[in-house]
């Protein structure tokens, strides 16, 4: 059998083999064992066969051989012969592929390209009746010709233009259309199409709008959006289409389908973007006439948004190259009917359609400086007239809002004071009305009745926009506004929700970015003057709002420095007074400084050393003096003041240089004082409560310093076991809660951050020793338990080698026969992983990412099996406190674990959570609240399905409903918060039937797992609607609504 015959036999079922045969022949040809002519001639007996399949296979053989030849092998003449051969048989299978190979060769010329194109055009009149694959190959060949031999194709002119159109007319396959559209786009852009504009336009526009929806699991991955994009590129490709495209697209806006309208608008926007300004101008007024209705009677928000975008784009295009304003501009002719319409609608500015008009004015005026000038010329004066004649405040407010929209546009066009570059050559047309604006807005802000809050807020916002607008107001005019704001904040009584004051503060802080000098010169003196010298005990704390305002406007650097000086001197005076009044006042001053420093990047602040000297060194010395009884008053003996001061020191210490931090490390306990002045705590024989409280400051200082300073900390060389033991002793024996807490954190901080790996055994021994203090009855006192847990926290977070052992040991405490020990321990589990301000990543604590996972996966199986034991043993043999203790511990841990970690354990976990909800007593409220929070997160993130998979929907719903009851029975308590949380979970169940679905998502097709309990839920919630608490009722209404809407019954059934 010849190679050809073998090829024809195998080609259908073994492509690889066929390819190999062709490659063999190609090699023979290249090594001149056979000639190309022989190969062609060998086809002889088949190519005239009557069976087209046979003919196709023969031609494919030749194609396969050519494809296997090296690209340089064929001579020009051979290519020519082969091309003619293939063109003659172009309808036979394989010929098109052969031509595709040939046209890609270097020696293929322009003349041949024309010949191939001609052959395509004249032989495929019936292309659409062929298979999709065949059509695809033809389009691919055409596409290759277009990219490789474009000049040849273009020179064919109308022949190729009409040829392409004829070939593709009627094409319906999305894969083919993707190619067709890109071929056509080239023709549209590069050919002279003047004689065939309509033919060409129709050939693509027939496909508008695209309604294609890809089948599920489409292997080709073509989306409707891909097709829409290519089609849109064609329609917007040339301005010649404008007379056809724009009217047709506008007509499509009459459609009732929002999707069609959306496509039409998007394509329209693409056309405006791509056609030249002259063409756009011709249609601009027509477009406005149609789009106006889309905006005024907005059906869908996105349609009016797109329409506004289109209007703005027209204005932008018409502004291109325009530098001078004149009424003869095409832009002016376009804007004229727009401003006219808006002016008319604004006659009744409180009506619904005034709002869209404001948006229209806002967006067209923001298009360009010229556009802005033209709009302002037409609109502002009439608004003033209307404003003067307005018969009510509602109308006036709507007019001010319209102006505010223009001011926003002005900001976009002309920039703000702080905007860099982009200066506009034209004068701001609003300048003409500057004084009027100042009068009207000032009058509206300060002259209106005090309860007209929303009116005044509108005026305030407008005034603010003008104040930040670049090169608009003079300094003194902005100063006037600042004075108004000061007056509102300092002199006016609170009204309602205090919206006006909130806006005033926001405005001052905005102005502080643009004109800090005005704030320092006007606002600061006025505000600081109202701060008292001292505040009496139990006074009304009227200084708080002032301090809050100062804090919010002082984030800018210059202003903050002023604030610091002023407040620090207040504080210094207070510290010297023998009778300084309430400690709340100095504390509030410290909080103010803390707040602002948190907003700023202190490490970059050049004045940070000043703050360090004044606060860290200065005030710490004062603390030491106070603790030794040498101060004029007891402000710095107060634990809350010390805590705030500590946080401030912590923040500053973190921002200073390493040298300074080393100094802090050396002075952690001595607080920058000599031993004569102040006796530091560690190893002191006797300490007063005042002295002990300085541990609060020491802890914050220690937290702030870098690990690199650890060798400078006193009492830690060569190792810190003595120091740690001393701290443990003190933390257990101290009587003050604040000092106790500080000792615990101090201890944990040393162990977690500063204890080296080699010395970890010190902490572990400490842990064991503490456990040994357990008395024979298994009880430990609460301070000891807390010390154990803090020590464990420090070790678990850094994943010390003994972590698992520690956790197991902690769990044994829960089974202690002593109820007090068991309960206290159970409540302490939450602190193991909870975020802490001292042992935090910011403070460089050693927190390993896997620590959460390790704790969780160790604890869950242990708790679960222990509870099962207790359940089986019954209450006769195990004390009743043990089960609640385990559930409390679980709730505590869950509240500190991300749900992603929880999900894999859900089947084990859910029964435990449900048992937690079964607890009824008042003590269990916290546990149940935590459980409900966990459940809420699980449902929100994962939907009902996960609970359904564990088979617990029914038991969960029953327990949730039980938790919503107001008087559940003797000894049982459901607090209002608990009831509301349970209702929230019920609500989430109904709204999250699909994982991750948005609120109000419709139930998926198929029966909802919630359906069996729907009746029960609706009935039970009806009773909750009468709950004595308003928040609970609100939650019940929402939950009931969600179940009514979201859990689908048969459509017509109403309960």
């Amino acid at each position: 059998m010849s190679a050809l015959q073998t090829f024809m036999l195998v080609v259908d079922h073994d492509k690889e083999e066929a390819k190999r045969i062709a490659e063999g022949i190609a090699q023979d040809v290249e090594s001149r064992k056979v000639t190309l002519i022989d190969t062609v001639q060998s086809l002889g007996e088949y190519i005239n066969d009557e069976d087209p399949i046979l003919r196709g296979k023969a031609v494919s053989y030749l194609t396969a051989v050519i494809q296997a030849l090296s690209p340089k092998y064929l001579t020009r003449q051979q290519i020519q012969v082969l091309t003619t051969f293939f063109c003659d048989r172009i309808e036979d299978g394989g010929a098109v592929a052969g031509l595709r190979t040939l046209q890609g060769l270097d020696r293929f010329n322009k003349f041949l390209a024309t010949e191939v194109a001609q052959a395509l055009f004249s032989n495929f009149q019936d292309l659409q009746s062929r298979s999709q694959t065949q059509r695809f190959h033809v389009y691919q060949l055409l596409n290759d010709l277009m990219s490789n031999h474009r000049a040849a194709m273009r020179d064919m002119g109308d022949i190729s233009l009409l040829g392409v159109v004829d070939l593709m007319t009627g094409e319906k396959d999305p894969r083919n259309l993707m190619i067709v559209f890109s071929i056509l786009k080239v023709v549209m852009v590069e050919w002279d199409i003047s004689n065939h504009v309509e033919t060409l336009f129709d050939s693509v526009y027939n496909y508008f709008p695209i309604t294609f929806r890809p089948p599920p699991n489409d292997p080709y991955g073509i989306t409707a959006q891909d097709l829409k994009g290519r089609l849109q590129d064609c329609i917007s490709s040339t301005r010649h289409f404008a007379p056809h495209a724009i009217p047709a697209l506008l007509e499509k806006l009459d459609s009732t389908s929002p999707n069609v309208k959306k496509d039409a608008l998007n394509t329209l926007i693409a056309c405006i973007q791509s056609y030249d300004p002259d063409t756009v101008s011709k249609f601009s007024v027509t477009v406005w006439g149609v789009l106006k209705f889309e905006i005024l009677n907005a059906q869908e928000e996105f349609l009016s948004q797109s329409s506004l975008e289109a209007l703005q784009l027209i204005a932008k295009r018409l502004s291109e190259g325009v530098t001078e304003v004149s009424q003869e501009l095409p832009l002016a002719k376009y804007l004229d009917p727009i401003t006219k319409e808006c002016n008319e609608q604004l006659q009744e500015p409180q009506h619904k359609q005034a709002k869209p008009c404001q948006s229209i004015l806002n967006c067209v005026s923001a298009a360009s400086p010229v556009s802005f000038v033209l709009v302002v010329q037409k609109v502002v004066a009439p608004i003033f007239t209307l404003y003067q004649e307005a018969d009510g405040i509602v109308k006036q407010r709507a007019l001010l809002e319209t102006l505010n929209g223009l001011f926003e546009a002005a900001t976009n066009v002309f920039g703000q004071w702080t905007t860099r570059g982009g200066e506009v050559a034209l004068d701001n047309p609003l300048l003409e009305f500057k004084d009027q604006f100042s009068d009207v807005f000032g009058q509206a802000l300060m002259g209106a009745a005090k309860e007209e809050v929303s009116f005044r807020v509108t005026a305030l916002k407008g005034f603010l926009r003008l104040s930040t607008l670049r090169d608009f107001f003079q300094e003194n005019e902005i100063g006037l506004f600042v004075q108004y704001l000061d007056e509102i904040l300092l002199k006016e009584e609170s009204v309602g929700r205090d919206d006006l004051k909130k806006e005033a503060i926001a405005a001052l802080s905005e102005i502080s970015k643009h004109k800090p000098r005005l704030i320092i010169d006007i606002t600061f003196p006025a505000f600081v003057a109202t701060l008292p010298e001292e505040a009496e005990e139990g006074s009304d704390e009227s200084y708080l709002p002032t301090l809050e305002t100062l804090a919010q406007i002082s984030v800018e650097r210059d202003i903050f420095e002023t604030l610091f000086r002023r407040l620090f001197s207040k504080l210094t005076i207070l510290l010297q007074k023998p009778q300084p009044g309430s400690v709340a006042y100095p504390r509030a001053i410290l909080v103010t400084l803390l707040y602002v420093m948190q907003q700023r990047d202190m490490a970059q602040d050049p004045s940070v050393d000043l703050y360090f000297d004044k606060i860290v060194i200065g005030l710490c010395r004062n603390v030491a003096a106070s603790a030794s009884g040498k101060a004029n008053n007891r402000i710095l003996n107060d634990p809350t003041v010390l805590d705030t001061l500590g946080r401030l020191c912590n923040l500053i210490v973190r921002s200073v240089s390493l040298q300074k931090q080393e100094k802090v490390a050396e002075n952690v306990y001595s607080l920058f004082s000599t031993p004569e002045e102040f006796a530091s705590i560690p190893f002191a024989q006797t300490t007063t409560p005042d002295q002990e409280r300085t541990i609060i400051i020491s802890t914050y200082l220690l937290a702030g310093i870098s690990k690199d300073c650890s060798n400078r900390i006193p009492h830690t060389n060569p190792e810190m076991s003595a120091l740690l033991s001393d701290l443990v002793r003190r933390s257990i024996s101290t009587t003050e809660p604040a000092s106790h807490q500080a000792y615990l954190r101090h201890l944990a901080l040393l162990v977690n951050k500063f204890l080296t790996k080699e010395h970890l055994s010190i902490a572990e021994n400490l842990f064991t020793t503490l456990f040994q203090t357990q008395d024979p009855a298994g009880s430990l006192n609460p301070p000891t338990i807390r010390t154990i847990f803090w020590l464990s926290k420090a070790l678990i977070l850094r994943l010390a080698p003994t972590t698992t052992n520690i956790i197991t040991t902690l769990l044994t405490l829960l089974s202690s026969p002593d109820p007090q020990t068991s309960t206290t321990s159970s409540q302490s589990f939450t602190l193991l992983l909870s975020d802490d301000d001292i042992i935090s990543p910011t403070n460089g604590a050693n927190i390993r990412l896997l620590s959460r996972q390790r704790l969780f996966t160790t604890v869950i199986p242990l708790i679960s099996s222990r509870i099962r034991e207790v359940n089986i043993a019954g209450t006769d043999t195990t004390p009743s406190h043990i089960k609640p203790a385990h559930l409390t511990a679980l709730a505590g841990i869950l509240s500190t674990i991300p749900t992603a970690l929880v999900m894999p354990e859900l089947p084990t976990l859910l029964p435990l959570l449900l048992q937690s909800l079964d607890l009824q007593t008042a003590d269990s409220v916290a546990v149940r609240t935590a459980t409900l929070n966990t459940l809420a997160v699980i449902i929100r993130d994962n939907g009902v399905a996960v609970i359904d998979q564990c088979g617990h929907v029914n038991s969960l719903v029953t327990r949730l409903l039980k938790t919503t009851v107001t008087n559940p029975g003797p000894g049982a308590v459901n607090s209002p918060r608990l009831r509301a949380e349970a209702l929230k979970c019920l609500n989430l169940l109904a709204t999250h039937q699909v994982p991750g679905a948005a609120n109000n998502a419709r139930a998926p097709p198929g029966v909802s797992p919630l359906l069996p309990v729907k009746k029960q839920v609706l009935l039970a919630l009806r009773a909750v609607l009468d709950d004595p608490k308003r928040d609970v009722r609100k939650a019940a209404v929402d939950a009931r609504g969600a179940w009514l809407r979201g859990v689908d019954d048969a459509p017509d059934e109403e309960e």
Partner: protein
């Protein structure tokens, strides 16, 4: 709804609508304002973090009042505009009244809610639908001891009596609620309730 009947109604500003001010609660805490962010609660342990609601607060009853009814129905959307009934002033606080149903029986828990509806224009054919929507919302959201009385405010509608008769007729209301298309409209109106 082929044709919109009132395409340009007056709109009230959402910020001006009556709301319940949360009294005291925020004022009571030491730093109600911005400083809470600067100062996370001083370090606490589990015991003190227990639920903050005190016994006194829990016992204080908050009866259902007019504002609560208003909050329930003002967020319903108008079937013509995607705007709430509150903003369109179709429902307003002074036009809501709660009274004991049986004034002669002081112990009776029964109460009657009267809601007067003001259509945006006097010939609005959707007034019935709006009334029905308000009714359905109240029935879904109020306990069973409440009776609803939803009516068109006198003198605000050309066929007010006719509409009122429809809204008061229990059987006609029940029949209307069986109508799938109508319930679809009402369900859409209530999507904005939150």
């Amino acid at each position: 709804m082929a044709e919109i009947q009132n395409s340009n109604p007056t709109i009230l500003n959402a910020a001006d609508l009556p709301t319940r001010l949360r009294p005291a609660a925020t004022r009571k805490t030491e730093y109600g304002g911005i400083f809470t962010s600067a100062l996370p609660l001083a370090p606490v342990d589990y015991e003190s973090a227990l639920s903050s609601d005190s016994e006194d607060d829990n016992l204080l009853e908050e009866p259902i009042d007019e504002q609560e009814i208003y909050d329930l129905i003002s967020s319903i959307s108008d079937p013509e505009h995607p705007i709430s009934l509150g903003e369109l002033a179709v429902v307003s606080l002074p036009d809501i009244e709660i009274k004991p149903t049986l004034p002669d029986v002081p112990d009776s828990p029964l109460q009657t809610v009267t809601v007067l509806i003001t259509p945006t224009i006097t010939h609005c054919s959707l007034a019935t639908v709006i009334g029905l929507g308000v009714r359905v919302r109240l029935e879904q959201s109020l306990p069973s001891r409440f009776r609803m009385d939803v009516r068109i405010k006198e003198g605000t509608h050309s066929t007010g009596d006719e509409v009122n008769k429809q809204l008061a007729d229990k059987e006609r209301v029940a029949a209307a609620l069986e109508n799938g298309a109508l319930m679809g409209v009402i369900a859409k109106m209530m999507e904005t309730c939150h």
